[in-house]
Amino acid sequence: MAHQVTDQPFWNPKTELMAREDLAQLQLAKLRRVLAWAKARSPHYRRTLAAVDPDRIRTRDDLARIPFLTREEWMASQEAHPPFGELPVTGPDRAIRLHTTSGTSGRTPLRALDSRKDWSWSAEMWCYALWGAGVRPHDVGYVAFGYGSFIGFWGLHNGLEKIGALTVPGGAQTTAQRVRQIHDFGATVVASTPTYALRLAAEAEELGIDLVNGPVRRVILSGEPAGSIPETKALIERKWGAQAFDTAGMTEVSTIVMFTPAEQPGGCHVIEDHLLEEVIDPATGREIGYGERGERVCTSFGRSTTPLIRYRTADLVVRVPHTATTSGRTWDLYQGGIIGRVDDMKLVRGTNVYPGAVEAIVRGFDGVEEFQIRISRPGDRDEIELLLEPSTTVDDTAWALLSERVGAELADAHEGLRFRVRRAATGELPRFELKARRLTDLRPAV
């Protein structure tokens, strides 16, 4: 009788271990077909690819001949040709799913259509990540997610099922109900955003549920860069007594594009047989080398209905070669996962402030439940304030020490810039189930 090979460490050994020269040829072969497909069928790409001959894309250097796609172009197309714009190759009659971006940025969400194959592919990308993290058919996976039109963990849910794990949809529940289900159903794998993983852990403490000594072995994170911020990741692992694995993707792709392998190299493998990723200088648009920070540009081979070709994601990444990990895969990595957004850097009195860098410092301290960064200009000078909500066990003496040390570390990391650290009352700061928004810039727009 046939049986599933569960001791195989790779979901797809053929491509995960493929020689890089072959991988490059495979990507180019797929790219030529995606270009031909999109140019023939999508009104948008018919225009933008008019001067591109797919058959003449023979090397990676030829990518520069293909125009970028920006979110603004996609949005403009959607507004000019509602409801889906001119990117799709077909109408909704041939799609089976409609999902949107999260809308957490305050912008109008993008809408994307998927066919049956697209949707199965979306789950497949999660399978690479789940299997690579050690998830197997005997696992019980709990998905702490609201199951709305935002794509979120839909693909992970389907990926768990595809692997054969027992899959528990944790939608339409309070946090307390979710914690009880995780406990009662013996979940061994939990999926959530990093912020929500901490909230679940805090709720478990209040309910007297011991997560650390419970059955959860893996926490699969997505939706925020924090899954690769070492301090946040370590905090989650401590609170859950489990290993945390970062993943990242976007609705525009319909799924994830990178994942932390079991070896925990401090970064994420790019799923290079199904995606072609470039890292560019956001100012010049030119591809940059290993180890340099730049903007991630994504081409998806898997989404047929809404092709995505050279999409400027605005994600900041640092690409490093596959040799940076001992996982055995030949796929390159993004060191530190997604380390920020091109547009999330704030300039405060001449000093660059990245929300991710602030989070890395704040999460290095015990006793912090939540935080918010607020930038304002009360007079002629910028001010930056950190609101910290400590746990209820932090008394006045401990708070004085905590706030002083956090303030000192923030100043050290920001060229002496003084953050005003203020205590927030218990429950004052917002909690997030999806993408956390912890920076507010109240300065007048220039």
Partner: protein, 86 residues
Amino acid sequence: MTTTAATTPAHAPRTTPGGAPGDLLGAPLDDAERALLEIYDRIVAALRRDDLPPCVAANLRAALAPVAVAVTDLGLRFEHLTDLDV
């Protein structure tokens, strides 16, 4: 019942130097890959029939999607199937 004929651009499978069917890089297929590709081709062919009752057509479409993903995973074939509603 009428199904739509596929109009996906034809991409002839690569062949090995010896003329046998190969994967997208021209490498020869092993037994498991040949078996997978045969299943894929047979479901595609079945879906091109116009005499399938809805229960058969719908389930074949649902079956073809993950098979097509596996075929692409292994780099055996790469084509989109929206014309078959897959």
